[in-house]
Amino acid sequence: MIAAVKPRRARPISYARDLWARREFTWFLAVGRMKAQNASTVLGLVWWIVNPLLLGMIYLLVFGVVLQSARAQPDYLGYLLSGIFAFYYTRQAVNGAASSLLTSARMIANLRFPRLVLPLASLVEAAAGFLASLLVLILTVGLYGGHWPNAQFLLLVPAFLLQTMFNLGISGVVARLALPFRDLHNLVPYLMRLWLYLSPIIWPLSMLENAPEWAQQVLTANPMFSILGLYRMAFLGWPFELQTLLTAAAWSVGSVLVGVWVFVRAEDKMARYL
C-alpha cells in the first residue's frame, strides 16, 4: 500500500533529489527566458551590461564629479563600478524572485515539481547576466585603474559562489512573500534602493570613520559589506582579510538555509494563492 498523501512534510534529502532531477528543466527555463528576452528587444542581453554601466555613469556624475566623493575614495570608478555590478546581481535576483511564482501561475496550478525550480531559474538568469557583465567590469577596472587580474583575482570564485547562495536565500523569502502579498511587488524597488544606499557603493569608505558608532555598526552589519569587500579584493587588489571571507560565508550559509526553509515549507499552499 502506498502511503496516502497526507500533507507532505518536505524531507530535505528527497526534496534535494527531486530538485536535482529537475536541473535540466530549471536550466531550460532560464535559458529560454534569456533567449526570449534577446529576441524581443533590440539590444537583448546587452542590457545586462548596459544597465549597470549606465547606473554607474549616473552615480559617477552625481557623486563622483558633483559631490566629489571621488576625492575621498582612491580609485573611485573601480570602487563604484565593482559595487554597482555586484549589487546589481542581487537586485536582479530579488526582482526575478518576486515575479517568479506569479508569472508561472499556470505551471504551479497544473504541474507537480519542486517549486524552488522557479526562483532558481530566475537566479540562474541573474547569475548569467552578472557573469557576462563582469567582462566589462574587468576591462574598465584594468584600463582605468590598472588592476588587471592577478592571483588574488581568484577570490572572485568564492565571492560569486557566496553571493549566489546569499541571493538564493533572499530569493526564497521574497518569492514566498510575494505570492500572498502582492503589495511587495511595489515595495521591492524602494527596499532595494535603500539597501543600495546603505551599502558601501557610492559613498567612500572613509565616510565610516566620521560616522557615529551606532551608524558604523549598522552599516558594517550589512551583508553586502563583506560580500562587496570580497569583490574588491578580487578586482581592486584590496588586501585580503580572512574575516571578510568568513563573515560573507556566514551570511550566505545563514541566508540560504533560512530562505530555502521558508520557501519549501510553504510549497503546498502555493497553488491556493494563485
Binding site: I2, G32, A36, R106, L111, R112, Y273
Partner: protein
C-alpha cells in the same frame, strides 16, 4: 484492491477567499484576517479508478471538476481526505503549460517535455514522434507565437500524450485541432487505455465521455451526484441540464419535452450538452425533428458558445 490506479476518500477542498487568496497589507493592518465564508469546492468526494480504465468527470461549470483534477495531479492539497495515486501521472490540464511564445516550436517541445518530467535525453528520443504526431515538421523552427491556435494546441497535446504516463489527467483538450487531429488524439488516448494506462477525463463533450470512458462521475456543487457506468450517468446529467423548450415557430413545448427534469432556464432554443445530432435529440426528447429549431451547446470547448444551425427542414 491491487488494480486501482486512484483511490480517493472523502476529499474535501475549501477555498477561503480572504485567507487563501490575497491577504493585502490593508487587510492585515485592519486586523481582518479571517473570515468565515469559506467556499466548499469539493465535499466528501470518494471514488476509485481502476487501472486501464477511462474515467469521466462531468458536471456544470463550477461544480469542482478542475479542482478535483488538481487534487489528483497533487498540485492542490485537499483540506481533508486521502488520495492515493499509483503510477506516473501526466496532466493535460491546461494545454501548453510552460511554453514560451517567443521561442521556436523545437525549443518549446523541450520546455514542455521537461516541464512534464522528462529528461532532456528522453525528449530528444521522442522528439520526432512528438513533431510527427503534431504534424508540425514544417513549422517546428518558427517561433511559437507565429502558430495558429490549432497548431499550438496540437503541439501541446502531442507532448502531453508522448509523456507516456500511466495515468493521464485530461481537462477539455479533445476539442483541439481540426477533425482529423481530434480523431487522432482520441485514438492516441485509446491506445493509452489499451496499454493499461488510466485516463481521467474532464469534459463537457458528452459524446467524447461516452466513447472514451467506461465509468463517469457526476459532480454537482462539489459533491458526487452520481457515479457509475458512463452511459447512464451521462444521460441523467444531460437530462438534468436540458431545457425542454423545444419550439417551432410559436409552438408550445410538448409534454414529452417538458417532463425531462428540472429545467434551469427556459429558452426558445434547446439547451443541451454535447447534443450534436438532431435525430438523436428528437428521439430523446420525444418531439419531431422538425420542431427543433436549434440548440445551443453552452459549453462548447474553447470558450466559444454558438447557436448551432437549425436542422434543415
Amino acid at each position: 484492491m491491487n488494480d486501482s490506479a486512484i483511490i480517493a476518500k472523502d476529499l474535501r477542498v475549501e477555498y477561503r477567499p480572504y485567507v487563501d487568496q490575497r491577504p493585502t497589507l490593508k487587510g492585515m493592518l485592519r486586523g481582518r484576517r479571517r473570515t468565515r465564508n469559506t467556499v466548499v469546492a469539493l465535499n466528501d468526494v470518494s471514488f476509485e479508478v481502476a487501472r486501464g480504465e477511462g474515467f469521466g468527470i462531468i458536471g456544470p461549470n463550477g461544480a469542482g471538476k478542475s479542482t478535483l483534477l488538481r487534487v489528483l495531479a497533487r498540485t492542490l492539497q485537499p483540506d481533508a481526505g486521502t488520495i492515493d495515486v499509483r503510477g506516473e501521472t501526466s496532466t493535460l490540464l491546461a494545454l501548453g503549460v510552460g511554453f514560451n511564445p517567443e521561442l521556436s516550436g523545437r525549443r518549446n517541445v523541450f520546455l514542455g517535455g521537461l516541464a512534464g518530467g522528462l529528461t532532456r535525453v528522453e525528449v530528444e528520443e521522442r522528439f520526432d514522434q512528438i513533431v510527427g504526431f503534431a504534424e508540425l515538421h514544417h513549422a517546428i523552427d518558427r517561433p511559437l507565437k507565429t502558430y495558429s491556435s490549432g497548431m499550438f494546441a496540437r503541439l501541446a497535446f502531442a507532448i502531453g500524450i508522448n509523456l507516456e504516463p500511466e495515468i493521464l489527467l485530461v481537462d477539455e483538450v479533445l476539442a483541439v485541432g481540426d477533425e482529423a487531429f481530434q480523431r487522432k488524439s482520441k485514438e492516441a488516448m485509446r491506445a493509452l487505455l489499451e496499454r493499461a494506462g488510466t485516463i481521467v477525463f474532464v469534459s463537457h463533450g458528452m459524446k467524447q465521455v461516452r466513447s472514451l470512458c467506461e465509468r463517469a462521475l457526476w459532480l454537482e456543487a462539489g459533491s458526487v451526484r452520481e457515479i457509475g457506468p458512463a452511459g447512464p450517468v451521462v444521460r441523467h446529467y444531460q437530462q438534468s441540464t436540458m431545457v425542454a423548450a423545444v419550439a417551432g415557430k410559436g409552438a408550445r413545448p410538448r409534454p414529452a419535452a417538458r417532463h425531462l427534469g428540472p429545467a434551469r432556464r427556459v429558452e426558445v432554443v434547446l439547451r443541451v450538452l454535447g447534443g450534436e445530432d438532431p435525430v438523436a435529440l428528437s428521439e430523446e426528447l420525444g418531439v419531431p425533428a422538425e420542431d427543433i429549431v436549434g440548440w445551443r451547446n453552452q459549453f462548447v470547448e474553447g470558450g466559444r458558445s454558438a447557436i448551432a444551425q437549425p436542422p434543415s427542414p
